[in-house]
Amino acid sequence: MAWNLDIKGVLHPFSALKQGFKRPHTLNYPLEKRQDVPGYRGFHVNSLIGCVGCGNCQDICMNEAIDMIEPLAEINPKNASGLVPRIDYGRCCWCGLCADVCGPGSLRLAGDAIYVGPDADSFLYMPRDE
């Protein structure tokens, strides 16, 4: 095999060393957090005053993640069925179809996205009321 001298090819990679003098772009996660991006598809929120209990969200969700259950808080007097959605985060894929199809626009996806837990049964989520 011929051996040709490739000085440029041997010396140029050392130019990577100058990155050592620049400020690192690591996001120190617990100390610095990213800004919330509007429109991020995170956990659900549902304003109970607006929700009319029509069940469109349950109908369109193809993962069968939404159950309509009886709430413990005050609900809209116009709520026909008396039920509000609860979402199983063991099935949800955060596609946003339920928020798109919601008639009064009460079910939305907000920015919060972090939850960890040791128990699989604790992942049934009642959307926050706001």
Partner: protein
Amino acid sequence: MYHKSQCEGFQCEPGLLDEGVDPEDRQLGPVERLVAWLRQKSLFVLAYGTGCGAIEMRPLMTSRFDAERFGIINAPTPRQADVLVISGYLALKTLKRVIRSYEQMQEPKYVIALGSCTINGGMYWDSYNTVKQVDRYLPVDIYVNGCMPRPEALIEGFVALQERIARGEKAGFHRYREKIDWYKANQRRVLGEMMPPDYTYDWYHAGGIA
């Protein structure tokens, strides 16, 4: 992280929250505390991208989110790994290999399950080839929510695992030892003929250290 109200947030009965903590408040002696501190600060993750979640493990391990600040790096072989990350759904063929890798890991070993597919089936809940609830086949220590979970959520998952190790709770591998027959029965039911051979878990019955 654990929401306790039953009206909003994640629904869990208060009893389940304390399941991991012994009521007698295990007092860890100084040597045990030191060992727990050393274990939690150097978790080696097995290099196995079992599913979709492998795509968010790359940003986690590299410069932007840098899990190496927490002591987490990749290990190529199960004999040197502490944590098995099940990143996403498990097809049946992969389940067999994951069980083999898990049994080859040395104790203490932990499992972190990412994504909603491991919790209750996720998007593929009606598929003929995926596993719906990983907890029946392998003991899972921490579930991380999301589809895909963000790297920040993965970091929270690792931090929660570190806290569990620091508290000295009974981890998944203890459960696997105690209930080995239940786990094996479940695996046999879903894998059928593809079941890994019996000699892989002989030592569990013999009571020796892995």
